[in-house]
Every structure is written in C-alpha cells, then in structure tokens.
Amino acid sequence: MSRPAQVSFTRLEEIAGGAHVITDAAEIAVREVCGKRPAVIVSPADAHQISEVLRFAVAEKLAVIPTGGCTKLGIGSPPARYDIALDLSRMNRVLAYDPHDLTLGVEPGVRIEDLLRTLAEKKQFLPLAVPFSDRATIGGIVAANSSSPLRHAYGAVRDFCLGMEFVTGEGTQAKSGGRVVKNVTGYDLHKLLIGSLGTLAVITRVNFRTFPMPQAQGTFVASFSSAEAAFDFCRAVSHSVLTLQMVEVANPGAAALIFSGEISARIEPRTWTVVLSAAGQPAVVDRHERELSRLAGAADAEEFLPLTDAEAYSVHAQIREFPKLMMERAPAAAIFRVSAVTGVMATLLGKLRVLAVQHDLDFVSLGRASGIFHVAFLPQKEISAPPQSLPRVIAEVFRTCGQPEMHASAMLEWCPTEIKTSADIVWGPPRPDFELMRRVKHSFDPQNVLAPGRFAGGI
C-alpha cells in the first residue's frame, strides 16, 4: 500500500513551487499504475528539480514513477510501492534542432505529434509511428521502447538515439552518448534506459538523428489464404533487392480492425494481409509496385492492391494505433509483444492461435515482418472481467515462446490489473540474464526508488 499520509509536501513545494505539487484526486487517478495510486504529483521544471525530488525520495524512502502523457502506465509489472508521480509534461522544449546536421535534442515531455510537426516544417521526421500519438511523449516512447512499423527501414530507438541526459535514482545528473551521429565514447548507458520503464533513471534529454522525408510514398496490400503464404511472401520480399519502409502482417482479426470503409470491401475477409510501404523518388515507388505485384502473384496472393493516399493514411494510422484499438475493443484482453525470427513466425502464431481457440478466446495479431508482433487474446463476448482461463493462457504463451527452436521473446504488454499478480505474469519465467539486469538496476538506483517492481524479475 502507498502511504499518502506520510509524504510531506512542504519539501516538494519548495523544490518545484506550490503550483506544481498536486493532490487532485482526478489527476492522481490518471497516474494510477496497475491499481496503485501516488499520494502526490510533482511537475519539475528541469533536471535540477528532478534531482532534488529524487534525493528527497531517497531520504524519505518514497517510490517515484516518471510520467508523461500517461498513455503507457499500464505496461510492466505492478510496482511494489508508488508515492510520487513525477510528471514531466512541463519539460517539453525542443532544446536543439539542427536540420542541416539532421540532429535533434529534446526534453522528455515533448509530445511526439508536436515534434513531428516541427520536423515536417523542415521536411524531416523521426521514424516513430507509435500508438497514442496524440498524447504520447518522447520520454514515454523511449522508456517503453514503443514499437514502430517504420522500424523495418530505420531501426528502433536504440538505432537512431545518439545520447541522453538523465537523473539516476540517487538524484545524480548524468549523461551518455552525445549529439553526433557516430560516437563510441564511453559506455552507451542510454541504451539501457530505452525500454526500462523508468526503473533506472529519469530521462531529461534525448538526442536523435532525424531523417529526410521521402519525395513520394506508396502503400500496397497483398492478401493470402494462410499465414504460411503471407510469411513466404514476406521472406521473398526481404530476400529481394527491394528497400521497403514497412512490411506489416495482419491476421484476419487484425485486418478487420485496420481496414475500414472502401478498402475493407476490396479485401476478402478471413485472409491474412501484408501491408507494405515504399518510399523515395517516384520511379523507386513505381518499381516497388511492379515488383511487389509480381512477388505477390508468385506467392499465390488472393489480391494485390495499391492504396490511394487517403486509404494509405487511414491504414497507417490504424496500424500505428493498433495496441490502443485492441484495448478499446476489449479492456479484458491480454496483449503480448512477441519477437521472433521471421522464419518461425507462421508456426509460432499458429500455435498461439490454437491456444486461443482451446480457451474460447479470439486471437488477433499484427506486427512487423522483421519479427515484432502484438498478439492479443480477447474474450469472445463483451465482458469487463477477464476470462478465468487468462492466467493459464499467459503461462502457456511464455512456454511456447520459450521453446528453443522459436528463438522468441515475449512480454505481456497490456492486461487487466487483477491478472498481474506477479512480475513473472508480465515478464515470463526468470532468465539467467535477470541477475545482470538486477546489478545494472543497483548501479543506477541502489535505493530502489524508481518504479520498484515494475520491471523484469521484479526489478
């Protein structure tokens, strides 16, 4: 249990100013993490104030969870303690943007939507097509390592993040990496922070490389009668000379969610669909259309459709928002983030689908053909309580992914709070490398102040 009565707000008010220390019940509720609510919300203005808040937390033995747009607080295992929500939304400045050098430095509270708009003015972008895009902030996207379909061409945050500044659990301001596009100076500590869910440090600045917007873009949909055919097509594409921006594979359930209006009428229901994007000079996009059409034909595609710009815009948005769409459709769903090599994806998804059928659950999967999927188990009827079988299904998913030939890794990204009775439910059974992670945690946050219990192995 939290200990609201024991938190002294006076010191926090001295640090951040009275207006930035809040106990409003509605605001507190927004920052709930797995059923736990903080006693107070502090909104620091800068790294120095964060450092002071954390030193206070260390002295008072309080637990702190950094928050931004509050869109992904449900990810991770339930925190053991939670006293202070450290709201970073005031730290929302673009600190440095050099479009000529294609580099950028931002505070964690910058919303991705605003940032992409700023970059678009210079015909540049960050390849972060991530869910909750109207509210998600850079800090949260980095801390949750949100998956973007553009990873296919541009890599993940770890590949285009140049460095970070942060405050450790002891309140020490530190940094790693830098602001230049190539750098091996010192340990890449910032890579540890990506996906760490705020358990190691509070991010105060992130430096990225930016990318030029392509001249033209084309989006295509190919549909197949089976998962095997869809993945065979993906493999043929990845072994071709084509240079795609995005290759997404949707099972029939996912296709029903991402295609709407006229497109859905053009695509046969019950098929597996592959959505691909090509970008570059118009001649490059045309070439992709020709070659993809040929490859789709060779892979016995049921359909191969180029999308109009309006259709493409809608499909891209639905793919980007997929985890959010799932949660809206069924709050009682269990949504995994699964990664595996392309070659076993059809088999792995097949096994997981059988598991869903055995337990009378719907099965929806959408993901990057390069090997990162969202896999959702949903109750067939609209019910608010999670299905009784869910814990068994969850354990079974980890067991299946743990089979050596799958080379897979899974994490339960979203599920009803009442299901999350332990860290293993979310992160899977203990692995040998968890001990190394524990030691890393101890170097950043020896007093266990930052989001204790939220990470793998109960870290």
Binding site: V184, G186, K191, L242, V284, S339, S370, L436
Partner: protein
C-alpha cells in the same frame, strides 16, 4: 608470473595453447595503436568453457585478463596494460551457423570480419560493418570496439548489427544475452556490451544480422582544387538530406601518398577528393548520383567521375582503405585521431587542423568518413625524435579539444582504450564517469578484466597522457 599459474593453464588448455616465452610475448605487446604493454602469458581457448576456466584461474591468482582478436585496434584495447593473461581468440574462429532465411549468422569471436561476408556471399548476403582492417580484424574485436567503417553512414555501426551474445563474466559464469530475434525483453544488455571494449565480459559467441546486397552501386570520385570547396560539398550533401552509403574524403597530401602506392587514379595535383558511394535500387542510385554530381559541380569540383566497372570501383576503395598503410612509405610513424564533429562544422574544423599543423610544425594528413563527421587526421612523426613526439601528442590533444568544443566526441569508431581514457573528462563530468564506473563494477567488480581502459585511472582531469615510446611503425590495415 607464478609458474604455477602457467602450469595450471597448460593443464587446462594443453601446452600448445599457452605461450609464455619472452620472444612469443613480444608479439602481443602492441596492437594498431601507439601503445605498449607486456602480458605474462597468452592463452588460446577453444570454447566458452575454456574461457570460463581461464577466468576462474585468473581470479584465483588475482591476475588481469585481456581479450584479443587480431590486434588491429587503434586505441590500445587489446594491450595488457597491467600485464596478466591475454586471451587470444584466434582458435575460436568458426562460423557456427548461417541462418540465411532469417538473415542471421552465429559466429565465434575470432572470425575475421571479411571472412563472414565471404562465407555468405553466395547467398547474396554480407555483414555490413566494414572497418578498413576488415581483411584481418575479428568480429569479436568489432563487438568490443563497436567498430564502424565507411558504410556506417548508411548502415550503422556494429551495435546496430548484433542481436545476441554469449558472455563469460569475470566470475567465470557463462550467460547469454539477447538472442536471434530483433529484440529481447528486459534491459538492452547487448546495447551496453557492444562497445564496452572488453571491460565488462569476454564475448564467446555473437549473433549478427546479415544484409542483402544492393541491386546497384555507384562510386563517384569528385576532385577539388580547394579544401573548403570539398568540405562545403559534404555539408551541402548532408543539408540536402541526400543519403549516400559512404562519403569519404582524402586531402591532397594523403592522396598523393596513396596514389604513389596504390595507383587508384587520384589526380596528384588536387587539394582533395571525395569518394562517394550510393547503393540501392538502380532507379534510386541514378537519381542520387545525379544529385550528388550537381552538388559537387556547384561547389567547383574540377571533375566528378563514376567508376565504370567493379575493377575501377575496387581500385578507388583500395586507395581509401590502404591509405593508412601508404603513410608508412613516407613517415616512420603516425598517430591517428578519431574525433567526431557535427557535419556542418567540417569546413572550420579542417581549417583548424591546418592551423594546428602549422603551429606545431607537423605534417597532418586528413582522411576520413566525411559523411558522418568522423575525422581521422594522421599526424606524422619519427619516434626517435622525442621532442617532435611531444608536439604530436600536444597537437592531437588540441584537435580533440576542438572536436569537443564544437559539440563532437572523442572517438567515432576506434574506441577510448588506454589512448583517450584520460581525456574522458573533456566530455564527461565526474558524476557521469562515476556511474560508468559503477556499471563496470556491476559486471567486473574486481576490475580484473581489461584494467586501465575506457575510464580515467587518475584524477588529473583533462591532462593528456604521453604514451610510451612507440613500438614500431603501427600500420593499421
């Protein structure tokens, strides 16, 4: 060293896998840098179990351990600074698995970089990181140093191409981190380990991504009469957001030395050349090459020509990759820098290097990865002239300081090692460094693994350490 330890190592690995005679040890005193250090013995493990056994023995005898690949490193990473055991991975040189369907390979650390690309060439695949030493450097070394290469510009450094590692920790435990899939849940330990310069663990197996060879490649040579026009062209290419696969620059001094040796076709009377490569679909390559040619012409390139065939292309690249070696023909020794700057600061930085060259009365050749702002000024010297060598070290420090002042970094791909560890305070605060020390201690608590590397040893902030008298002409391949 305790003869008993040597006997135990021989019992563990067999007598042929342990070297301890002085004449053998001499061969392992140096690497591609100007540093020196004498190990007490060299061991050649054949498996992770061997490595774990070595580590346990080293612990019992409280002896330092240093991993070593081909010894081509340029910052002293493989040098036994405090003596001890050098673990040479040359026997662990097998490609364990080629998983072409999933674009992965599993290799032992001693596999030579280019050998992996050759092993998958028939499948139309290759391993992207391409350091100039790729004919001899090992993938284990690439992992330690997070090596780059000319094509880093488009494809990223080693860290972007490693998905899994098997480690032997300093306590002898064998652990796997990451895996074959593109990501693994939990902290990104692979991201930390790649580039940790052998100070956190010994790497005994590596899973890497393989890339598909592009359909088309076009290599352009742009020839200039002034350095400013050359560097302004690079800035303009970056500003226009054209993304070549590689964009290399050689100044007149360097290319003349190379031309005499390689006969790559560089005009010897020019101020500098850019070697620019574009790759991808043929439509994209043609469009990009046209745009780059236009930029170079606008910046008064005397000539822009494309390699007409593979032979011409390979010759141009030989001119680039063997440039360091060519320096050995005109100078007994050189000191290579590895600073990084924001790409837009290239013109002023080259002017600054010219000033430094005049100030210290030293010949400095410039050859570098212009497209990502990674400089390799080569300061030439004769190691017998101690006064000159002191100027070399001072000039190197001044170049480094300039890089830091314009917002850059100390090393883009060669690593910190024992060459630049005392310069770390130019970039990092005591708090930054203390955290790095704690992370190191989390893996390597007794500091037995590769001591004296990456982090500063003393408290003398910003002081430049004068390296020992250099061994012999260090010629990185």
């Amino acid at each position: 060293m305790q003869p008993q330890l040597i006997r135990e190592l021989e019992a563990l690995l067999g007598p042929k896998a342990v070297l301890s005679a002085p004449e053998d040890l001499m061969l392992y005193e140096y690497d591609g840098s100007v540093e020196l250090g004498s190990p007490r013995c060299i061991v050649f493990p054949a498996s992770a179990r061997d490595v774990a056994g070595i580590v346990r023995l080293a612990n019992r005898y409280e002896t330092p351990i240093v991993g070593r690949g081909a010894g081509t490193g340029l910052s002293g990473g493989a040098i036994a600074r405090n003596g001890g055991i050098v673990v040479a991975f040359s026997r662990m040189n097998r490609v364990l698995e080629i998983d072409a369907a999933n674009l992965r390979a599993v290799v032992q650390p001693g596999v030579v970089n280019l050998d992996l690309s050759r092993a998958v060439e028939h499948l139309g695949l290759y391993f992207a990181p391409d350091p100039s030493s790729q004919k001899s450097c090992t993938i284990g070394g690439n992992v330690s140093e997070n090596s780059g290469g000319p094509h880093t510009l488009a494809y990223g450094v080693t860290a972007n191409h490693v998905t899994g590692l098997e480690l032997v920790l300093p306590d002898g435990e064998i652990v796997r981190i990451g895996g074959r899939s593109i990501e693994t849940s939990g902290y990104d330990l692979c991201g930390l380990l790649v580039g940790s310069e052998g100070t956190l663990a010994l790497v005994t197996e590596i899973t890497v991504r393989l890339m598909r060879k592009p359909e088309a490649v076009k290599t352009l040579l742009a020839v200039y009469d002034t350095l400013d026009d050359t560097t302004e062209s690079v800035v303009e290419i970056t500003v226009r957001a054209i993304t070549p696969a590689a964009c290399e620059m050689l100044d007149g001094f360097t290319l003349r030395a190379v031309e005499d040796y390689v006969h790559a076709g560089f005009p010897k009377d020019c101020a500098a050349v850019l070697l620019i490569e574009v790759e991808g679909l043929k439509e994209a390559v043609e469009a990009q090459a046209a745009e780059i040619t236009e930029v170079c012409r606008q910046h008064r390139a005397r000539e822009v020509r494309a390699a007409r065939n593979d032979q011409e292309r390979n010759l141009l690249w030989r001119g680039r990759k063997e440039a360091f070696g060519a320096m050995g023909r005109i100078s007994p020794m050189y000191y290579v820098q590895d600073g990084v700057i924001p790409r837009t600061r290239l013109p002023e930085t080259l002017r600054r290097i010219e000033e430094i060259s005049r100030k210290y009365d030293l010949q400095i050749g410039n050859i570098f990865h212009a497209g990502d702002g990674n400089l390799h000024p080569l300061i030439l010297f004769d190691e017998r002239d101690r006064a000159q060598f002191a100027r070399v070290v001072a000039a190197g420090g001044e170049i480094m300081r300039h890089c830091v002042e314009v917002g850059g970094a100390l090393t883009g791909e060669h690593g910190i090692g024992m060459e630049k560890n005392e310069l770390m305070p130019l970039i990092f605060t005591p708090d930054d460094l203390a955290l790095m020390e704690r992370v190191r201690a989390a893996f390597n608590p007794a500091g037995r693994l590769n001591p004296g590397k990456v982090l500063p040893m003393g408290k003398a902030c910003g002081e430049i350490r004068v390296p020992p008298t250099p061994a012999s002409a260090a010629i990185p391949t």
